[in-house]
């Protein structure tokens, strides 16, 4: 009962984040909307679902991702027989937004280039972890659940990412620091 009343509140609060996450995972806009639709219908009809959920946003992230993956598998089956059960093959492309009337276009480009260069040097899963950790502020346990990997591998992916960024972008900075 309570979930019904709050559904529009929850929807308005999280629909943008869920939509972004879905599109970053490489799904078409309409497919992401379908998944969001299915999840919200499910949690409203089956009001018991949210009863023991402590973190609704995380629950929704997980539900939408799993739903997207189901839809993905369904469409894959139509094209070829592919039995991969993991999320590994999914892309993760962060769309960087620098639209700000206060920043000149040239400056916007520079900012965009700098961050994209860095993100591009990472793997899909590393980018996804960064997004979930930095923007959504999930902890390692939650992230590993979303990626269907164990916490240890999750931490390993992060330290690898730190290392590779340090290797590619760190040295130059250190030189600059020495000079200044």
């Amino acid at each position: 009962m309570k979930a019904n009343k709050d559904i529009s509140y929850i929807y308005n609060l999280y629909v943008d984040d869920l939509f972004i996450y879905g599109t970053y995972l490489g799904f078409e806009r309409e497919v992401v909307k379908d998944a969001i639709h299915d999840v919200f219908v499910k949690i409203t009809i089956d009001s018991g679902l949210l009863k023991d959920v402590s973190d609704i946003k995380f629950y929704l992230f997980k539900s939408v991702k799993y739903r997207l993956f189901d839809l993905h598998k369904k469409s894959m089956r139509e094209i070829m027989i592919d039995n991969t059960e993991s999320f590994e093959e999914l892309p993760f492309d962060i769309e960087l937004n620098v639209e700000d009337s206060l920043i000149e276009e040239e400056e916007q480009l520079k900012v965009k280039n700098e961050i994209n260069l860095m993100l591009d040097s990472l793997t899909n899963r590393q980018r996804e972890i960064i997004y979930l950790r930095y923007v959504q502020e999930y902890d390692y346990e939650q992230i590993s659940e979303l990626l269907k990997i164990n916490v240890h591998s999750c931490r390993k992916l992060v330290s690898k990412a730190i290392l590779s960024l340090r290797e590619k972008f760190g040295i130059l900075i250190n030189v600059l620091v020495l000079l200044s």
Binding site: Y11, I45, N97
Partner: protein, 386 residues
């Protein structure tokens, strides 16, 4: 002073943000200590990166609303079939649920949010019954009715689309249909003309038309009418300020106290006459607004905006918030207290609002269309800035 974009171009800053290690933490801690003047810009850069930069939704407002409507629609369908199963449940179970709900509902956090914000407050009013007064008799109905008169002086009343009732009506007296706020009704007159009565309306009508004229009178409120053509018997609508002469047509009359009185012609031809004006002919898609001094101002309008209520939705185009809430208030029998915040009142609303039975859906749509925030505490509605 450095602007926040300065930091967004610094790979060391980005690394620190996205994938920090102790080395970078140390570096930026020192940096802020040495450059306290940059602290604001650093925070600005962080906020920008986290919220806008890496997390900018491309879902448009329209898509967001359509998706929500779709969700609601599916839920409604599923609920219907579920409901049929639920009917077998004992009423005790339902009662427990309701009590549980009442105990759970007034959430503390909402109260805190609202404590000292500017807001518009809405309150539910006592619900009144629809009344049909025929001669000395009066019948009341708790939900919307459809009345159909026949030439033989009989009336068929359908309540809730299912409970049918037949009554005889005495011939020579005028009858009155009173539709309070929060209710709607339709009335098919003896000649086949059909009237949709909006919330808060009073209509007087004869059981059948005699003589050379067909005449009904909209004492107050709003109606949409589709008049059956009959050249021998002209149709007239009397309203508080003016009379409308009809030549086989479809049009909407709004005669609410506290709002401008107006007529919108959908199809055909009508003429208006107040005590002080000469006969004014309206063309389709034209609106005549009665000004207090007995004259009319005419303008062409998007007809749908004025008659959509009869099809269960309201359509707005840069309509002031106050007008939007007035209409919704009538429909759901709510009274809105606009407070003193002129900013909230200045907002406008553009788009369609479906008048579903669930007021929450309606108010959520209103808040989306007007970029405000809506919450409901106990039986009160609060609208605040986003």
């Amino acid at each position: 002073m450095k602007r926040y974009t300065y930091f967004l171009k610094d790979s060391k800053f980005i690394r620190w943000q996205l994938l920090s290690d102790s080395c970078l933490d140390e570096y930026w801690k020192n940096f802020i200590e040495e450059h306290p003047e940059s602290e604001n810009e650093i925070h600005e850069a962080i906020t920008y990166l986290k919220n806008k930069g890496l997390n900018k939704s491309t879902l448009t407002e329209k898509e967001r609303i359509i998706l929500f409507d779709r969700i609601q629609e599916t839920i409604r369908h599923k609920k219907k079939s579920k409901l049929q199963r639920l009917i077998f449940f004992s009423s005790a179970a339902v009662a427990i649920l309701i009590i549980g709900f009442l105990l759970l509902y007034p959430r503390q956090e909402d109260k805190i949010i609202l404590a000292d914000k500017e807001h518009i407050m809405g309150e539910f009013l006592n619900s009144e019954d629809i009344q049909l007064i025929t001669g000395e008799e009066s019948m009341s109905f708790q939900s919307d009715i459809d009345v159909k008169l026949s030439e033989e002086g009989k009336a068929e009343i359908v309540q809730n689309n299912k409970d049918v009732q037949q009554i005889e009506i005495k011939q020579d007296q005028l009858n009155t249909l009173i539709v309070p706020y929060g209710k709607r009704s339709t009335l098919t007159l003896a000649d086949g003309s059909k009237v949709w009565l909006n919330s808060g309306s009073v209509l007087k009508f004869p059981v059948h038309f005699v003589g050379n004229n067909r005449e009904i009178s909209l004492v107050s409120g709003e109606m949409y009418i589709e008049v059956s053509p009959n050249k021998k018997m002209p149709f007239r609508v009397l309203s508080s300020d003016f009379n409308i002469k009809v030549y086989g047509t479809k049009f909407n009359v709004s005669n609410y106290e506290g709002s401008a009185h107006s007529v919108v012609l959908v199809e055909g031809s009508v003429s208006l006459q107040s005590s002080k004006s000469k006969e004014l002919f309206l063309s389709p898609s034209e609106q005549a607004v009665y000004s207090g001094d007995g004259r009319f101002n005419t303008q062409s309008v998007n007809v749908n905006q004025f008659i959509s209520w009869k099809n269960g939705y309201l359509e707005f185009n840069k309509t002031p918030m106050t007008e939007v809430l007035k209409q919704i208030g009538r429909y759901y029998n709510l009274s809105f207290d606009f407070g003193e915040d002129s900013n909230l009142q200045k907002r406008t609303c553009t788009g369609k609002i479906y008048l579903s039975e669930n007021l929450d859906n309606v108010m959520t749509t209103v808040s989306l269309l007007s970029s405000t925030k809506y919450s409901k505490i106990n039986n009160k509605i609060f609208i605040t800035n986003e």
